[in-house]
């Protein structure tokens, strides 16, 4: 897949391939997509996997279920608004909800670094239990492994979820169509900025707490308000709203246009992004989703979501168009447009 580079181009030696995995491969941007495409899909090629949805719809006998898995890596393990445990429960529950399914069961696998204080483990597991109760799911199987000190960043958790598919309600990343309205269920950038502020190094304080939440009840509100007519649902985690919209534009082969003025960016997120030179569109979220609904149902959908505690900041942020398929563009304050591309890797704070 490397482009051919002719001999007489002698710019700085191009680094065209990666011989090792770098952190950017985990950021949810282009490198992550490339990792999947070049190193996983060539070997693991089930039809369900190739759909690249949040989860897979498979049949078990005559029942259709949704399976999803996610692995959680976060530093610090505990932060305002939650911890790695809550993220692990909500994250997988949400992936199942994004497929239109009803979350039912989870498994949880733990890779624990030698030396992790027991009281930290206790707090996190208790937190997971509470989150599971709120989400209405049971953790039915699990596993633990311990690795040597220095090999594990404290704790990694994998959760795999099983949900009951709904044959009437099946939003898919491939189903967005020109004319659909693009909605967001809440404020953007909150989780990512909370984590950055809790991490050592950048040393700033902000009055924010992670927005991690079980989104299933809000999805139900949306489903009822639109009578099952939701084309696409996705929760923009790592890589932010921008990455998610790009994935959908690509999967559905449509163009997406969003309006900068309509994005719900809370003050603390805006301030932190200004200070660090970050774009809120690429900052991680854990408690919102983007929804693509037919235009004539958009207002009703937004109003319904706003009636729910998790959806108070729900709003329209854009629309799907026939133009520039696969691209996401944004209308700026000045009336111009600019492309909202996927980032190669993580956003880095800048000085310029």
């Amino acid at each position: 897949m490397s482009a051919t580079i002719s001999g007489n181009i002698s710019c700085a030696v191009p680094i065209a391939t990666h011989d090792r995995v770098v952190l950017g491969h985990g950021s949810g941007g282009k490198l992550s997509a490339a990792l999947l495409k070049e190193h996983f899909l060539p070997h693991l090629h089930s039809h369900a996997l190739r759909m690249l949805g949040d989860g897979a719809i498979v049949s078990a006998g005559r029942t259709q279920v949704v399976l999803s898995t996610d692995t959680f890596v976060v530093n610090p393990l505990e932060f305002p608004g939650g911890d790695i445990g809550v993220l692990a429960i909500n994250g997988t529950v949400n992936d199942i909800a994004m497929m239109g399914a009803t979350p039912a069961y989870l498994t949880a696998g733990f890779i624990i670094e030698e030396g992790l204080p027991m009281e930290v483990l206790d707090r996190i597991v208790a937190s997971m239990a509470r989150a599971a109760t709120v989400a209405g799911v049971q953790v039915v199987a699990g596993d633990t492994k311990v690795v040597e000190h220095g090999k594990g960043d404290g704790l990694f958790i994998n959760t795999t979820g099983l949900g009951l598919a709904n044959s009437e309600f099946r939003p898919l990343p491939t189903s967005a169509r020109a004319g659909d309205a693009v909605l967001v269920s809440g404020s953007i950038g909150v989780h990512g900025i909370t984590i950055l502020s809790a991490r050592e190094g950048l040393d700033f304080q902000v009055d924010l707490a992670s927005d991690t939440a079980c989104l299933y009840p809000l999805v139900e509100v949306l489903r009822r308000a639109t009578d099952d007519h939701v084309a696409t649902l996705r929760d923009p985690t790592r890589g932010g709203v921008a990455s998610t919209l790009n994935e959908i534009a690509s999967a559905s082969n449509v163009g997406i246009e969003i309006d900068e003025a309509s994005l719900p960016v809370p003050t603390g997120v805006a301030g932190a992004c200004e200070m660090l030179g970050l774009d809120p569109l690429y900052v991680a979220n854990e408690g919102i989703f983007v929804a693509f609904v037919p235009e004539h149902l958009a207002d009703k959908a937004v109003e319904a979501m706003r009636g729910h505690p998790l959806g108070r900041e729900a709003r329209r942020i854009g629309k799907v168009i026939d133009d520039h398929r696969g691209l996401v563009v944004m209308r700026t304050g000045l009336g111009g447009t600019r492309v909202v591309d996927m980032l190669p890797g993580d956003q880095l704070p800048r000085i310029c």
Partner: protein, 97 residues
């Protein structure tokens, strides 16, 4: 070069001889070194901060004037633009007329 943003001083202290302040950037708070503006700032003032250092005090009167000039300019009729387009006889040091 140079991501510098305005923030409000909400605390001033000395750290082993170095004047430091807590700056509020619209809801985000971070420490910044005030050594380069120490003589001219006090609590509540706005400063421009670049990589953790205040490099200037925001001249609030000028800031307001810039904005008002721009806003008024945007509301003028076309004929008035033409009049404005003729520059002053000699350069005005320090600012747009």
């Amino acid at each position: 070069m140079c991501l510098g943003i305005p923030g409000k001083i909400i605390d001033i202290r000395a750290d082993r001889g170095l004047p430091m302040g807590t700056i509020d950037f619209g809801g985000v708070r971070r420490e910044a070194c005030l050594a380069y503006v120490a003589d001219e700032v006090t609590m509540g003032d706005y400063v421009i901060v670049h990589v953790g250092f205040a490099i200037s005090k925001v001249d609030e009167a000028e800031a307001k004037r810039t904005f008002e000039v721009l806003r008024d300019m945007s509301q003028l009729e076309e004929l008035e633009w033409v009049a404005e387009a003729i520059p002053p006889a000699s350069p005005v040091p320090g600012g747009a007329p």
